[in-house]
Symmetry: D3
Subunit: 178 residues, 6 copies
């Protein structure tokens, strides 16, 4: 069996992420989606908890009829030493063969640790972009609705995620570490 | 949908754990298996990495034909403050309704946080006991083979887990924090 | 007895804070002043130690003849997970009923955890503003003297706090985490 | 003004502690009670939260008519480096002159940092002993009631502290770090 | 014997650092070079690991025929509490008498802890400047080559340090903590 | 150049350690002595600071006329995840080829990471044993003097290390984490 990991923060999960997962599933038998910065939530850069991000992704996979036994979701907290990040990942996930990522540094670190690197195409980066989507939510620009899966739109509204983001943005950010 | 979480360290995953999962799946729609002390490995109490424990559980669920879309595995690192543990768990996992546990303190903490508590029966605790199983592996007592699922036996041998445990036990434990 | 907590960083303690304490003492029997980021000191954003901030507040309370048995000061270090912050606070302080805060996110988090929220009026935010006061101290603009209690003026000078702030500002900030 | 600090864990606060506070108040103008291991709770060695320990001490001080403006309670979390503990303490508390402690190492460390050391007498150590008191609570031996202030007896029962301790003791200690 | 410490991050080690070491060796018997932020690597501000920085400095000392028994290199990780930094340093290094630094805050903190302060001259700060050198490497401006010792040029190229820096700069900085 | 690392805690540095260093220097060009648990001091298991341990080793190397340019001492703090320890070490030290250790787990972890393993002979383990030496110091049994280099005897007495150890042992170990 050939397994790949796909690391990201998914704040929130958008159609670019969705496309990478589909692209990856054509190339690996099993795909591990690594939900990074799992310890973070309720900040401008990381508004959603790891649990909420798992729900967004799981709900979308169901909506898209992607078989549950081909994708594993694993939340992973940050580590203080970047230099050992690849090995930190290895401790948290089942054995894998490849990483799916475009970032040149990530790719080099995994290549040096003897993993295959699969570089996915860029999917409409101007629109499918988490930083942009968070900004749109904050200023009530509805464009973000077309950048995320239908399930994510419903889910973010259900949990009041849009209101939470506006509250975080409208404050002195007292919960953001300085 | 009614969701339950089942916390444990699964060092290693044994038939008692397996029975609790089956018992739980009769009572909840979706079961979240929470793999605790995820940051630990290579010590006497925690020989296996989180990734290896995920493989043990996933492989057994397949062997037992348990549908992959009814069980979610989530590794979770320890937190330094026990008093907030329930809320730490809430950040890492999708929304849930109940906890499956026998431990009276765990049960009280979750009850105080307004969760249902489902207390599973005891399944042959004298035999299905992780501490005992680790000791049997160390002294080459083959009884452990009957206490864990077939998949776990194969998997532990495949990764040399039995040799690793003996190496840890045979040393001054220089990697164990003092 | 009805108890409220009032969270802040108090870098330094100014007349806006003083007014909130007085306002709060009209609404609760006992007020817990929560001194956040207690582990920080000697940086541009957090020049004063927790101990120094306790002295500023205690000295001012005495100057103002506020009875010592109605106010409790509690320093509290930051936590890495914002999502559990409310519960972290609950571990460090005596049982309380209400939070005194204007921040919409803080207010929502405490409301979700079943606390009352008391929103104090804004007291001359243009002048009573810690960030501004720190800047004035650095550039030797004496306006800050009118924005803090008399005791704080004397105390900051006594411990050389103004010189410390200028030293921090005049450097490459080698002690500031990057 | 001459200030002293009195460090302890107060798990729970007992009559020996009470006597040291009274002894100390005859020797210093203001006494800072330092509540150590503030981040801990819900374990065999540290069953009570910092907030609960503050309540025990504050309630007893009131019961004993000790003036609130002569005692300051400060919770302080553990630090990973023992060698800098004295300086960690200095950051958390107002300026002080003396430490009240019997421990020879603590005394030497503070003496080396130029503090006075006040060594209190031993008050019935066989009976006024936190470890013993926790054991008595667990086995329902009522002797502990005579070893703690009346307020603490009432308070522990009010919050169900005795039941909590028994629950912790009766389990596999899954929340205790290994 | 009179010992001095010289703290820095050395990202990378440049001719200004080299000159300070020579200047220091004329004033102390033994010089301890303290390599700060030792846990960091692979970020824009801290591209090199502690081990790589040790190699840069050791190689240059050899190239310059500086006797190995007069210089000690000690990597030291950051601490979360700035206020105890001087004492944290004292734990990691042999007993020393003086600090070599220009930063006014660092100098005051060490002076308060009873150390001598030796303030070195400024050596061509416009050119010998780590932040500038990292930028030059990123944009392929060869000026940096004249700002670092010959050994460092060769070493950075040998380990592909210039390529690494460009990779870090050309990405969304997913490994940089937010 | 062929480099080896020799990991240990050196609490205190004894003749067994000294012999391993000599044995190692016959097999490698440069030897990196890795001083583990660098953040610890003032406990029963780790009485000496990293700085003190560096002084013990450096002083002995001089006494033994071992050239300073063949040995590099590097203090390294513990990491919370054992599974990535080898890679944590790689970040802190210059590039190396081999590890010198007898511990079977350590040896396997380094072998899996493609390092050579050099297993030194056992040098009088009954006598050259740090745990035993610490006990002898505590009970004033002078046998320890023959188990450590002459320099270490003088150094421990100079800094009052024997008195410190007795003080730690004679207390309730209030600084030892529980």
């Amino acid at each position: 069996m050939y397994r790949g990991i796909y690391p990201g923060r998914f704040q929130p999960f958008h159609l670019g992420h969705m496309n990478v997962i589909k692209w990856g599933l054509e190339r690996v038998d099993e795909l591990i989606v690594l939900i990074g910065s799992a310890q973070e939530s309720h900040t401008l850069s990381n508004p959603f908890t790891a649990g909420e991000r798992i729900e967004m992704i799981n709900g979308t996979l169901r909506e898209q009829k992607i078989p549950a036994d081909r994708v594993i979701l694993i939340p992973i907290p940050d580590i203080l030493m970047n230099g050992v990040w690849v090995y930190h990942v290895k401790m948290y996930v089942p054995k894998f063969n490849a990483v799916i990522a475009r970032n040149p540094l990530v790719n080099r670190l995994f290549r040096e640790a003897d993993f295959d690197v699969l570089e996915p195409p860029l999917y409409n980066r101007e629109k499918y972009n988490s930083t942009l989507i968070r900004k749109q939510i904050i200023i009530s620009d509805p464009s973000w609705i077309e950048a995320v899966p239908e399930f994510v739109v419903k889910y973010v509204k259900l949990i009041g995620g849009d209101i939470r983001l506006k509250e975080i943005a409208g404050t002195d950010k007292p919960l953001e570490r300085k």
